[in-house]
Symmetry: C2
Subunit: 416 residues, 2 copies
């Protein structure tokens, strides 16, 4: 399949976007939200076609499924994005040089952003609204399993674009075809940035096949260190929340690190996990401390592979350390640099942890469950970056822009 | 060759850097500058060994050559970098969320930065000082031709590090071995970022072989558009400066775009270029306008390949357009998104050009020769990014840092 002509059309459309006022984009998003709610039955019907092709026992089934409530939530999110200030045009700095030339650093859209994701129809609407609000055209490659749902919702987006005189090529849904993905990954002349959202295997595939610049999102191997000076009540609440709030998300706790001097408190620290039937893989000292205080069926000796694993399940490793230094070394070795936490009442330990842990989000006495654009107050989220270049942690509108320098003068030339 | 152990040592050293106060780094840089000047004869002698292996007719010879003046200039630049404020620790934003948790976005070093460059011994000292000042360890892969010079200068860096008790592994010079480069490009577990500096072929090689994230620098296919409302005196000065100040640099002018209504002014616009023996490849209307007004030997009809070419030489293409729209289309097609200029007295044309040209630096009535960290007032430059991710245009200290979010609270957990 040759998609070049279509990619070119998206690029053309992205350039025209610069001339469309933010108020019109906001109106567009509100109209799309309205039409989504008006056509609830139609969208649910198309979603039903996707669902009919999937075994309800498949763990993806729930993510694929749209309900009236979920669609209303998506519409509400679109209205929320509509109301956010656009980052485009923001003057990031402004200087006048000794020769009189004025340099402004101005935020501008990337141009065309490609998003590759799995069978989550909500992502289609979320990322389209974020891309549009930040002045970007977008190319959406959703999972095959959700293709009917995506065709339906992108149809609504296009319908409203046409009503407002906006080129529908601004939001392109890719054909349901694996070869098409490879073409997208290689489209360096037409696509400015690709963001993969989904499983580790999807992200690994994108990383190893993309020629277009990629922002990696996703994998979170998250630790919480319960320090010798940790408060037990805070620790128990944080461990339980970070592990059990939602186990399938990247900010969920994978490994509790406990200071050896607090092993006696370990059963209390983990007590509530038994309610959620969390299996604990404990190293030897932790195993001894837990034995008899945690359901036998849920307590296992840790094997090496339990450390550095993103469980995405009701499972957690426990590592015992003799010092903060040892905890830092364990995190350094196994962390995916996503979210790491310390529970401690010792300001020096907290400061050392905050300074020395190399991760997008470093928490002191707070659950790692907060790594999320909405929770950070960004109003929206397009993903959580696990790389250091460009953007780190939760990404919202400013993170899907770049900048340019605009230099104005009256004939300045350079002498040396 | 297996360099993993050495890369690990650099990574270890990068972590220790966080504990070294900025004042000590500044002192280190000043001491290195002092020793460079004290050991002028030694460094020049080592450089002489490199020079002895190269044909003086080779265009690289001049770049390879160190002189007392050049070394003093390098030392002065190091002292300048020493005096710049460190970007590390800067709080980029700070918020308190409704649940009381405090989120700070703090600038932190990347960790380990690899620089791959050619036979320019000054780059060794420039990038080492910038990396150190921004809290990064660095791995330097210089060109083979400059290896003796690099060994000498890195020796001085290590000597001063040892005197101040800083781990010399913080600055690693790679072996003079091509296979080593490939190992560096693949060292994802140890290297956070690679910046290639040099020719297009070097950058292409790095881009296609790197697994470590790369910031591309370099290629500049730069246009200057002389608008129907352009001022002739400003235009002539800007064209001459952008083309002839230094032809071997990325911000040099490659293609003059002239509005058809100003063809009568084209000879005056280009008159001074003849003094520098600039060969002009003119499209048909421009050729007719120039004929008889520019030395015949330096005036050639343009062929298609002259557009979109980075000449790096006393050569320039001229393209005639009938509108600003057509000029924008030409730039869109051939620009490398580095530096683009308009010469015009028409504020609407200037605004449209600034808004619509997709380049790191967009100039109005200013020579593109200013695309440079020093000229922008950044105090230093590690390269000029031609990509949109992370950093665009001249890069200095902030651009070789990343950030992390530090979240502090008193036991906050997430409810939904």
């Amino acid at each position: 399949m040759n998609l070049t002509t279509r990619f070119q059309a998206v690029q053309e459309a992205s350039r025209a976007l610069a001339g469309i006022p933010d108020a019109v984009i906001a109106e567009l998003l509100r109209h799309i939200a309205d039409e989504l709610e008006e056509k609830l039955d139609y969208v649910l019907g198309e979603n039903q076609k996707d669902l009919a092709r999937m075994d309800p026992a498949n763990p993806k089934y729930d993510r694929l499924k749209l309900t009236p409530e979920r669609l209303k939530g998506i519409a509400a999110d679109m209205r929320q994005v509509a109301s956010l200030p656009t980052p485009v045009g923001e003057v990031l700095s402004e200087t006048v040089r000794p020769n009189g030339m004025k340099i402004r650093k101005v935020r501008v859209p990337f141009g065309v952003i490609g998003i590759i994701y799995e069978a989550r129809p909500n992502v289609t609407l979320d990322v389209a609204s974020l891309c549009l609000k930040a002045g970007n055209a977008c190319i959406l490659k959703g999972g095959s399993d959700a293709h009917d749902s995506n065709v339906a919702t992108v149809g609504i987006i296009h319908h409203q674009m046409e009503r407002l005189g906006i080129n529908p090529d601004t939001v392109m849904l890719m054909p349901d075809d694996h070869a098409a993905t490879q073409e997208l990954l290689e489209a360096v002349d037409y696509v400015d940035l690709i963001i993969p959202r989904g499983s580790k295997s999807l992200i690994d595939f994108v990383r190893s096949h993309a020629r277009v610049p990629v922002i990696e999102t996703g994998a979170g191997i998250c630790h919480t260190y319960f320090d010798e000076d940790g408060d037990l009540a805070k620790g128990a609440a944080i461990v339980n929340n970070a592990k059990t709030r939602r186990v399938s998300v990247c900010n969920a706790l994978d490994c509790l690190i406990v200071h050896a001097s607090r092993l006696a408190d370990l059963p209390a620290l983990c007590a509530r996990l038994a309610d959620s039937k969390v299996t604990i893989y404990a190293d030897e000292p932790a195993f001894r401390a837990m034995q008899g205080h945690y359901p036998d069926a849920l307590l296992c000796p840790a094997r090496p592979e339990h450390f550095g694993t993103e469980f995405l399940d009701y499972k957690m490793a426990v590592k015992t350390v003799n010092s903060l230094e040892e905890a830092l070394a364990h995190i350094q070795r196994y962390s995916s640099k996503h979210s790491e936490a310390i529970v401690s009442e010792n300001p020096e330990h907290i400061r050392a942890f905050e300074q020395r842990v190399d991760a997008a989000c470093v928490y002191a006495n707070v659950s790692t469950a907060f790594t999320d654009g909405g929770q950070f107050g960004f109003g929206a989220e397009i993903g959580i970056s696990t790389q250091k270049m460009h953007a780190r942690g939760p990404m919202a509108l400013p993170e899907i822009t770049t900048y340019k320098y605009i230099v104005e003068g009256d004939g300045q030339t350079r002498r040396c």
